[in-house]
């Protein structure tokens, strides 16, 4: 297969089209506009539909409508736009609709800035809208993963009948590096979409896609069913990369762009003889709890590095449950606040001491 030199955002678009997504609904926002630009150019060639909607709210609801018909569909945006989509994401979660939402995260709060940020971690993994739900959250850290995890997101969304989010940021969205595109292979065990609306077409039953349940006990039962799926995800779909955890005194953990910096810093530390390992969650929901628990048996300390003031660190601490000390290093995002490997190395040395 040919190696291409492409941007992370383009890799998302390429992966989506390769995975059979033929419906895209979006609205321009930096730093993700390469995605709608690529798709608006390539989608018509495939006979698909690209709509630049009037708002983020409209685009997530167009996604809801298309997903209700059983097709692979997506939207993409960046943090302020993702906030606007939260209503629709909650409705999709309640209505058990698959679909891909890409967040190329930028700094906030409010209009914030256009720099790389991981400050949407809580919003992504804790259910950013109302009602106590979760969605699948995948965190790519390379252009190749932007492509691969986009495909995986569609598969997981379809398998569990729930929305999936690809949580990138301005670094992995805008960076250009090698991509080896490969043909999409659909898993053979994906369920057929018996629930999708199509007009009755002679069926005796109606198909209804909805999130309103008013009958006595109905909504509680519905919610327990959703939570049973979250448990299944935890049992079956956790993905995580580890480096040198077995003999490590210190495990440094980070996701997405922060993990690129951390991996470099950890290699520098190893070269200096420090026993440093890395845990990089690929799925943020489901969270790799067991990996942290296992590491906590052997390491002396953990250090969580994020491009924010400390969010995932709370989940790491919950996972290890006091077994080891979990330190944090991060800076609120904005122009000039992206840490260097050397900066992380100083932290590593501090916590290895």
């Amino acid at each position: 297969m040919k190696r291409l030199f492409v941007k992370g955002n383009e890799a998302v678009a390429m992966g989506a089209l390769e995975a059979g997504c033929r419906y895209y609904f979006g609205y321009p926002i930096t730093p993700q506009s390469d995605i709608p630009e690529y798709i608006s150019r390539e989608m018509p060639k495939l006979g698909g539909t690209f709509i630049q909607a009037e708002s983020e709210i409209a685009s997530i609801n167009m996604l809801l409508g298309a997903s209700a018909c059983g097709v692979r569909a997506m939207t993409s945006s960046s943090s302020p736009g993702i906030s606007l989509k939260q209503e629709g994401i909650s409705y999709m979660a309640g209505s058990e609709l698959p679909g891909l939402i890409v967040n190329i995260c930028r700094s906030g709060p409010g209009l914030g800035g256009i720099d790389a940020s991981q400050a949407d971690y809580f919003q992504s993994v804790k259910g950013g809208g109302h009602g106590g739900y979760h969605i699948i959250v995948l965190a790519p850290h390379t252009v190749q993963e932007m492509y691969d995890l986009t495909m995986l997101a569609f598969d997981l969304a379809d398998r569990y009948r729930m929305p999936a989010m690809l949580l990138g940021d301005a670094v992995v969205g805008q960076i250009k590096e090698a991509l080896v595109p490969h043909p999409y292979q659909q898993p053979s065990d994906l369920p057929t979409k018996e629930w999708a609306v199509s007009g009755k077409q002679g069926r005796s039953d109606q198909r209804i896609v909805k999130s309103l349940f008013l009958g006595d006990g109905e909504l509680e039962a519905h919610n327990w069913r959703l939570h049973a799926k979250y448990k299944q995800l935890q049992d079956n779909e956790v993905r995580c990369e580890t480096e040198h955890v077995d003999d490590a005194d210190l495990v440094v953990t980070a996701f997405g762009s922060a993990a690129r910096i951390v991996k470099t810093a950890a290699r520098m530390a190893r070269e200096e003889g420090l026993k440093v390992g890395v845990i990089r969650p690929i799925t943020l929901f489901p969270f790799p709890i067991a990996t942290y628990q296992q590491a906590a048996q052997t390491v002396k300390k953990m250090l969580c590095v994020e491009l924010n003031a400390g969010q995932m660190v709370e989940d790491v601490r919950l996972a290890v449950n006091g077994k080891v000390d979990v330190a944090f290093y991060g800076r609120p995002p904005g122009a000039g606040s992206l840490p260097t490997p050397e900066e992380i190395l100083v932290q590593i040395k501090k916590h290895c001491g």
């Binding site: 009037e54 609801n61 996604l63 409508g65 298309a66 209700a68 018909c69 629709g88 199509s198 007009g199």
Partner: protein, 255 residues
């Protein structure tokens, strides 16, 4: 001599044989029936997908024997856009109240109309938020008392009731836009024809059709059904005139 019995009145097949939850004197039931008759008449029930909105009309799937997607408040035209772009050969319509369409959902309706989406929109205007208990709506008439305009709608601070059928008729993407009422048999007949025309506009020409239906809300108006019905003619129609505001084929030819 044998007697030949001819069936002259029946329930449309698009409508389920169930009682509605609507209050006595509410005209949602009439509007529902007219939609069902139009679907029957065009023979689209088996390929119909309804998009339900939030409010009293949310139980669309309980009354129409068709596939239904439930939309968030005001977002039905965006949801219907997604549905229709996938199911191009199906008949897709939204059924929305005045708070849903003319307040929280103004952006979605205007842009779906402006894109000329091949969908039909039934807009039920009863000048109040029914489901939530009779609050002021974007269509509440000047001086009308509601639970959030207890001294009457003050246009100086609350603005004016929005005439959606006229507003949308100014958009290039709209093929058909009209306002009807269901307060007497003559108007019901005309309303049925208008709804069928809007539906036909989608089915035969791929056009965007909009029908605003003036209806009663006796419960929240604090009136009995008869007085509520009289209010439609005495107060609503003078402000919201009945009529066709746009009627062109999608390609711009007169029909």
């Amino acid at each position: 001599m044998t007697t030949v019995l001819k069936n002259v009145f029946d329930r449309p097949v698009s409508l389920k044989d169930v009682s509605t939850h609507f209050c006595p004197g509410c005209q949602h039931g009439t509007a529902h029936r007219l939609c069902a008759e139009a679907m029957d008449s065009l023979g689209v029930q088996q390929r119909a997908i309804g998009v339900a909105s939030v409010g009293c009309s949310v139980f669309l799937y309980g009354y129409f024997d068709i596939d239904v997607v439930e939309a968030p408040h005001g977002r039905a035209p965006a949801v219907a856009t997604g549905v229709k772009r996938v199911r191009k050969d199906d008949f897709v319509f939204t059924y929305q109240g005045d708070g849903d369409l003319a307040a929280i959902g103004t952006s979605e309706i205007i842009h779906a109309a402006n894109r000329g989406e091949a969908i039909s929109v039934i807009f039920v205007n009863n000048t109040t938020y029914g489901m939530t208990g009779g609050q002021m709506a974007p269509t509440t008439l000047p001086q009308q008392q509601t639970s959030t305009s207890p001294t009457g709608r003050n246009v100086a601070s609350d603005g004016y009731p929005i005439r959606m059928a006229e507003l949308l008729s100014g958009l290039e993407g709209v093929s058909y836009s009209c306002r009807v009422a269901v307060n007497n048999p003559k108007n019901i007949m005309a309303a049925g024809k208008a709804i069928e025309k809007a539906f036909r506009c989608q089915v035969e020409q791929g056009g965007f059709g909009f029908v605003e239906v003036l209806t009663t809300c006796p419960t929240n108006w604090g009136m009995n059904p008869l007085k509520a019905n009289n209010r439609v003619a005495e107060e609503m129609i003078p402000y919201f005139p009945l009529g066709v505001f746009k009627d062109i084929a999608p390609m711009g030819q007169e029909v």
